[in-house]
């Protein structure tokens, strides 16, 4: 069987894997601390490494947002302790400086999009769930998988170091549009900080490609016997499409970065033309196009939002079904809509560029394709809601977050219909309306998907439960808080209030929202501290949580719950189980659930 053959590959690569294959997957060679916890090739450990690194970044990125919200909410206040804490560059006289504000905004965006919601989300759950749910002992290449994590780790270190350089980290917005990002003389953040940003992102792209190729190879080649593609849980379908999106689009981003590196360091003019910088004079560059970068960037940038969102969709589908004790409604339609979204993801990038002077005809095509995405999205929402209908719902913390995800996805998705329509986008582009839109639909919703996944699979990861009561508190405060933060921002956007402003008080058109900004900042701090509560719960429960005593605590059908409570490297003791059915036989023929490993009975009904 191919599983076995592939599983032996790392042994050939010079590591010490037992190649026991289907006979007994458990290891009995010596594992040192280094091979088990640091340079591990076990997909489950790598998943945890991604998760915890992602959490560190989530805390840092969240903290950054609290700091810059402090400035927006309290533009007149001084917090002397801030200067003591952060130093003069960041908070002179206890007030966040403009350079620090823009550095924080930029790093917050970069870190949350790439390090938390890409690496932390799909890195964690693709690694953890793909082998466990398709029935494989590990990834196609555990070694590449390990490299993927360590490239991410290195990218993290470089990004972190950029915070400490003299001119500060990059501060031109996470999209890093040139010429601003290309010219150190136009913005101090575009000096060393930008070099480090680019190196970090390049390493990140490598990490993401190594991971993605591995996920695709594993899903396509290493499914256990009987696990046809149409029997895969929706989590796997979603993670599969995510990986495909990443593999096809990250290289384009990389090429965009390479050209930017050339423009910055080697005197080329890919993006530069007709530029006069104050204090420097006219630059020699002529003939480049600043818009070219935006095309290259958004060719990744748009699929990227689906790279962030699809894994959450997949996990939510699974969790909704398990906890409604009812099959996911419209399994094939769910796959079809994932597929449609994945295809359309590549065909809508220029909707980020409606006001760049884009050819209007081209713009109209992008309007059409963008609004088309609403159709598969609508299918997904209606299918999730129908999954709840006439179910028997258990509100585990995972289920709460899954329901919260659907609510947020609706709220944020609908405003996409506003922004995707170019004539409306002209008014709303780069205002707080956009901030509200993408934070709800992509940021918070995906975060909810991630929380749902963590609460649901924590027992499988650590053999213990998270504390439920803390989970309930976490959920209710976070969802209420998320709406209180982002809902009113739509109104600011309808007033035309631009994003990325350090201070609105001198603007006659926007200063009326000072109270609202203070309110939003206050809620943001509360919500942030509740996330800390979640982290306490997480780390406490790893060591002291209630122990899992049954193999299948949620009564779920998928294969990961057929492994031992503490699965070793190789996941199953003895043979990998065979699969006879899809993953969603809940409530069929009066049975609460029928695991995928159970053969179809003679008297079973057909649907």
């Amino acid at each position: 069987m191919s599983n076995e053959a592939v599983f032996q590959a790392p042994a050939a690569a010079g590591t010490h894997h037992d190649a026991h294959g289907d006979h007994h997957g458990e290891h009995h060679h010596h594992e040192t601390f280094i091979t088990k916890y640091v340079f591990s090739q076990d997909h489950k450990m790598i998943a945890k490494q991604f998760l915890i690194t992602g959490m560190v970044w989530a805390v840092l990125g969240g903290l950054m947002s609290v700091l810059f919200r402090l400035q927006i909410g309290y533009p007149d206040a001084n917090f002397p302790w801030l200067q003591d804490l952060l130093g003069k560059w960041w908070a002179e006289g206890g007030k966040i400086t403009p350079q620090a504000y823009y550095a924080l905004v930029t790093t917050h965006g970069t870190v949350l999009v790439f390090f938390v919601l890409t690496a932390g989300l799909s890195g964690t759950f693709a690694n953890f769930l793909i082998p466990l749910q398709v029935g494989a002992r590990d990834m196609a290449s555990p070694f590449m998988n390990m490299l993927s994590y360590w490239f991410f780790f290195t990218a993290s270190v470089v990004m972190l170091s950029s915070i400490f350089v003299e001119n500060g980290p990059f501060s031109g917005g996470w999209t890093a549009y040139p010429p601003l990002s290309a010219l150190g003389d136009a913005s101090p953040g575009s000096k060393t900080g930008m070099d480090l940003w680019l190196i970090s992102m390049a390493l990140f792209v490598v990490s993401s490609l190594l991971g993605g190729l591995n996920y695709i190879a594993t899903v396509l080649n290493m499914r256990t016997k009987g696990m046809s593609m149409t029997r895969l849980p929706l989590t796997i379908w979603a993670l599969f499409f995510t990986a495909v999106l990443g593999v096809l689009s990250f290289p384009v981003l990389f090429s965009g970065f390479i050209l930017l590196i050339f423009d910055r360091n080697f005197g080329t003019s890919f993006y530069l033309s007709d530029i006069f910088v104050n204090g420097v004079g006219a630059l020699p560059n002529e003939g480049g196009s600043a818009i070219l970068y935006q095309h290259l960037f958004w060719f990744l940038g748009h699929p990227e939002v689906y790279i962030i969102l699809l894994p959450a969709m997949g996990m939510v589908s699974e969790i909704l079904s398990v906890n409604s004790r009812k099959p996911i409604f419209g399994y094939m339609a769910m796959i079809g809509s994932l597929f449609a979204i994945a295809i359309l993801a590549f065909l809508v990038w220029a909707h980020h560029m409606f006001v760049t002077g884009l050819n209007p005809f081209l713009g109209s095509i992008f309007v059409l394709l963008t609004l088309l995405i609403a159709v598969p999205s609508a299918i997904k929402v209606f299918n999730w809601i129908t999954t709840l209908w006439r179910g028997n719902i258990r509100f585990t913390p995972a289920m709460l977050f899954a329901i919260g995800f659907v609510s947020l996805f609706i709220s944020g998705g609908l405003t996409g219909i506003w922004l995707g329509n170019s004539a409306l986008d002209i008014h709303l582009h780069d205002t707080y309306f956009v901030i509200a839109h993408f934070h709800i639909v992509m940021g918070v919703a995906s975060m909810f998907g991630m929380f749902a996944g963590i609460y649901h699979w924590f027992p499988k990861m650590y053999g213990r439960y998270l504390n439920n009561n803390l989970g309930y508190i976490h959920f209710w405060i976070t969802i209420a808080g998320a709406y209180m933060i982002f809902w009113p921002m739509h109104y600011e956007g309808l007033a035309g209030m631009p994003r990325r402003y350090y201070d609105y008080s001198v603007w006659e058109s926007f200063k009326q929202f000072a109270d609202l900004n203070r309110f939003i900042s206050t809620v943001a701090m509360i919500v942030f501290s509740v996330q800390i509560l979640f982290l306490v719960n997480f780390f406490y429960s790893i060591f002291k949580g209630r122990k899992v005593t049954t193999q299948n605590p949620w009564g779920a059908n998928t294969l990961e719950w057929t492994t031992p409570i503490h699965p070793g490297h190789g996941n199953w003791v003895g043979e990998i189980p065979e699969v006879y059915r899809w993953a969603y036989d809940y409530g069929k023929d009066g049975k609460e659930f029928i695991p995928q490993t159970k053969p179809i009975g003679d008297d079973e009904s057909h649907h």
């Binding site: 136009a186 530069l272 409604f329 399994y331 002077g357 609510s407 004539a423 009561n469 007033a495």
Partner: protein
């Protein structure tokens, strides 16, 4: 000091919440985990419907508080902006209905179908008819929105009307430079390597005759009520964006690639002061594209005037060429001003510097 107090209180609250949560877990074990789980389930089910109700009330309350602070309570200040607004209302109606309906159904189902020992789950894996319905209906609704949207889009991005006046807007870190083509109606040539902050901020080519009557100024742009204006937009350094919320217009300023945008102002600044009831009202140009550490301060002003006021204002301004080379001022030799209409009225103010 208060800071430490706040931190101390927060930590304390944390510890208390954490301990209570832990303790209730132990209580659950004593009481029977299954029983506790069912109780929790009921509480969360109730919370679902509570959240729905409070959420909808919150949406209404938020609207009460902030609707009047948006631009929507007044007319758009441009003829084209009115079309944006009507499109916005249609979109709001469609998405609003879907929003309320789906959120109600979602949380109501969650509440209604919460776990109960007596309920038998309905095995319902798919239904082609339903799925076709909710594929086709959104598709039709979206087609309508696309058609409305594209008609407006092609109008906004199409050619400006023949009678439109032309103003060039150039972004720089961190401000705006405006140029009027002068009486020949043509913007003269420029080249960025000629830029000199003190004498020639736009890099005009003085040898080009068309440049000689071009008027260059900063801070305030003057437009005419009811007269379409075509802005020719560029940037001197990084990407900026001419954001005009009151006119519902926006266009990037890209170095090396000129862009255009046109609209028809509907109200003078004075009229807008009355309409908004804000004596300080002014049309502001906000830079809407991240352009550096001074991004937030990159403000421009547009003053919309009547034709007469406008003509008077323009007559008082000298072309940049004349300001720089006063000896070549055609008016210096022959005082009969070429700007006929209001020349007399502003004659005493002829020394007004064009760069304001």
């Amino acid at each position: 000091m208060t800071m430490f107090l706040i931190i101390a209180v927060t930590v304390l609250v944390f510890v208390v919440i954490f301990q209570i949560a832990k303790a209730s877990e132990y209580v659950a074990v004593l009481k029977g985990e299954e029983k506790t789980r069912k109780q929790d389930n009921k509480i969360n089910g109730f919370m679902m419907v509570t959240f729905l109700v409070l959420g909808l009330v919150g949406v209404w309350y938020c609207n009460e508080l902030y609707y009047k602070k948006t631009l929507l309570i007044h007319d758009a200040a441009s003829v084209e902006g009115a079309r944006v607004d009507s499109m916005l209302w249609v979109t709001l109606a469609v998405t609003g209905v879907v929003f309320i309906a789906t959120q109600i159904v979602l949380f109501w189902f969650a509440y209604k179908y919460q776990e109960s020992d007596t309920r038998k789950v309905y095995y319902f894996p798919h239904d082609n008819k339903l799925e076709v319905i909710w594929t086709v209906v959104p598709a039709i609704a979206l087609t309508v929105l696309v058609v409305i949207g594209l008609r407006n889009w092609f109008l906004f991005t199409g050619d400006a009307p023949q009678n439109a006046m032309v103003v060039e807007v150039t972004g720089k870190q961190f401000g705006w430079i405006y140029r009027y083509p002068g009486k020949d109606g043509v913007l003269g040539k420029k080249y960025f390597k000629n830029i000199d902050n003190a004498t020639n901020p736009l890099g005009l080519i003085w040898d080009d005759k068309m440049v000689h009557d071009d008027i260059v100024m900063e801070q305030t742009m003057y437009l005419v009520k009811g007269k379409p204006v075509k802005l020719v937009i560029g940037s001197r350094d990084v990407i900026h964006d001419v954001g005009l919320p009151h006119f519902r217009m926006k266009m990037d300023a890209v170095p090396g690639i000129p862009t255009t945008m046109w609209f028809t102002p509907k109200y003078t600044t004075k009229e807008m002061k009355e309409i908004t009831g804000n004596p300080n009202f002014q049309y502001e140009i906000s830079c809407d594209q991240m352009c550096g550490n001074g991004h937030y301060s990159m403000k421009g002003i547009i003053e919309v005037l009547d034709q007469e006021e406008f003509d008077a204002k323009m007559a008082g301004l000298k072309p940049a060429y004349v300001t720089l080379f006063p000896e070549k001022d055609p008016n210096a030799t022959k005082p009969a001003d070429t700007v006929k209409v209001v020349a007399k009225a502003v004659e005493p103010a002829a020394k007004v510097v064009a760069k304001m």
